[in-house]
């Protein structure tokens, strides 16, 4: 029986289909990457699994039980970190640990938090606020918070998209290392096929929206530990990348013949924590205005 299972899941916003007939199954301990274009519905997909959204049709099951709402059994790392800026690194993770293990003593919690801060190499920054950290460090905190909840499955929603290439590579290696240490089931959502192939056991392309659906699953038969330098010359890697990219591009040209439709673009801009929350902010519109905005996307025929 698959560990995480999505059957014929569809979701639309305001009558516009975002996801259509999505079928996905993950075995326990598997690392699966889903690759898709920006705005194709990747975040919608992960929100469905997280329980933040409910599917219009179809079922989502984790470990045989239907997903009815959000819960700490699914650790999520959001693209925009979603750290609480008024709490320190330690407190952000502690909040999660307290929520998951209310019966623990203060010492147990503290030790647990410290362990995960150490796992992402952030011990020197444990007392800092998210605003004082770089993007890569914030994302590590977010990863540590998700792991500290000891979830059954780790959901990574474009965790590295907002980072520069070098930080991105470092964090990819770190995710790979942490994954081999903890043996968690991981679902990674990304817009970078190379990243997906480098990290995952299987890679599944998401077709271009609207009405996106999952393509065939490509098994990555490259033995671990994988080496970043030599993998680029691996014929299997090259072929895999070509197939995945081709599939995605073909799905896009098919869609180009479709008429213009409106779709909801998920807000994928990371919030800039460096900007102080000014006292005159009451004059401004809410920070996340675009979240539910409708946008008309020109589709060339």
């Amino acid at each position: 029986m698959p560990y995480l299972e999505l059957q014929n899941v569809s979701k639309s916003f305001g009558g516009v289909p975002v996801l259509k007939n999505v079928n996905l199954s993950l075995e326990q301990g598997e690392f699966v990457a889903i690759v898709g274009f920006s705005g194709a519905g990747k975040t919608t997909l992960i929100s469905l699994i997280a329980g933040l959204l409910k599917p219009d049709t179809g079922t989502t099951k984790l470990n045989g039980r239907e997903i009815t709402g959000p819960g700490p059994d699914r650790g999520i790392v959001f693209q925009n970190y979603s750290l609480l800026p008024w709490l320190s690194v330690f407190e952000n993770i502690l909040l999660a640990v307290e929520a998951v293990n209310p019966a623990w003593t203060a010492d147990q919690r503290q030790a647990h938090v410290e362990k995960y801060i150490a796992m992402v190499n952030l011990t020197p920054a444990r007392a800092k606020k998210p605003g004082e950290l770089s993007g890569g460090m914030r994302q590590r905190v977010s990863v540590a918070r998700a792991l500290a909840m000891d979830p059954q499955i780790l959901l990574l929603d474009e965790p590295l998209s907002a980072l520069d290439a070098l930080t991105r590579a470092t964090l990819q290696d770190e995710i790979s290392r942490i994954r081999s240490e903890t043996n968690k089931t991981v679902l990674l959502i990304t817009n970078d096929p190379d990243e997906g192939i480098y990290l995952a056991d299987r890679i599944i392309p998401l077709t271009a929206g609207p009405g996106a659906t999952l393509g065939p699953s490509f098994t990555v038969a490259i033995p671990r530990p994988r080496d970043r330098k030599s993998i680029n010359h691996d014929p299997h890697f090259k072929q895999l990348r070509r197939e995945v990219v081709e599939f995605m591009l073909n799905s896009k040209t098919e869609r180009r013949t479709a008429i213009t439709k409106k779709l909801i673009l998920p807000d994928i801009e990371p919030e800039d924590l460096n900007i102080p929350r000014t006292m005159t902010a009451w004059r401004k519109t809410p920070i996340r205005k675009r979240e539910q905005q409708e946008e008309s996307v020109e589709v060339k025929s």
Partner: protein, 261 residues
């Protein structure tokens, strides 16, 4: 103009001098009843030089009057915060609540303190000796709570969905969500509301004292008008302005603390 050393001191001083000259000219030309600056100073001197003197119920040093007013404002203001903040939270959190009460709030908000005060006096008529104080407190609270209510509501509504998602994913309890997510996230907005509310509370106190005749800056002002000592009216106006300015500055400092956090 180029800025020069000490311009922060010299330019405001020049501004004051200009206003004093205009005042003097006005006294000499069209406003014959207006006391001159010199006469105002002469008559006000005992009240300023002995700011805490108490010569009688309505004849006290200006800072003593200010102190009475400030105490009353503090009481009414905290009442406004205690009532206004939760209302703001409910408005921010519940669309139904907003739909139900927003029209009432929008109608009540522009009502002048002068209109509320008689109602306050009627409400607490049974309190006897304390009626005027309770009426004044009621008026301050009702008039000054709106900025707190509205800013808190806006602050709660502006909480990024990310933070709420965190609370949802962690399945935080209601109280934890409130204290760890909702309140910290909306605190900067709330403090803007608190500052505006304090400004209004200080405006209202003067009106309330004038109508009830309570000892305080406003009460003193009205009494001296009736006693035809017009110099003291000007003294009171300046005092009210300076105190209001200081209060606003103090709240700004507190605000900045929370902005940085």
């Amino acid at each position: 103009m180029k800025s020069f050393k000490l311009d922060w001191l010299v330019l405001p001083f020049l501004g004051v001098v200009a206003v004093l000259i205009l005042w003097q000219i006005s006294c000499a030309t069209w406003a014959k009843d207006l006391p001159t600056p010199a006469k105002t100073w002469e008559t006000s001197k005992p009240y300023i030089m002995e700011p805490f003197a108490k010569r009688g119920e309505m004849d006290q040093g200006i800072l003593r009057f200010t102190w009475y007013s400030l105490i009353l404002v503090a009481k009414g203001y905290f009442l406004a915060l205690i009532i206004g903040t939760p209302i703001g939270f409910f408005l921010g959190l519940s669309k139904t609540f907003t739909k139900a009460f927003d029209p009432i709030i929008q109608v009540l908000r522009p009502v002048s303190p002068l209109a509320w005060l008689p109602l306050g006096l009627v409400l607490f008529m049974g309190a006897g000796k304390n009626a005027s104080e309770l009426g004044a407190l009621f008026t301050i609270a009702v008039c000054s709570m709106w900025p707190t209510v509205l800013n808190t509501a806006v602050g709660v509504r502006a909480i990024p969905q990310d933070y709420l998602n965190v609370a949802k994913v962690l399945k935080l309890s209601r109280s934890k969500t409130l204290f760890k997510v909702l309140i910290p996230a909306s605190l900067p907005y709330m403090f803007t509301g608190f500052r505006l509310s304090l400004g209004i509370a200080w405006l209202v106190i003067v009106a309330a004292e004038m109508l009830t005749g309570r000892p305080g800056v406003g009460g003193f002002l009205w009494q001296e008008y009736n006693a035809l000592i017009y110099e003291h009216i000007i003294l009171c106006i300046v005092t009210i302005g300076v105190v209001g300015f200081i209060l606003d500055r103090l709240m700004s400092v507190v605000e900045k603390k929370f902005k940085a956090a």
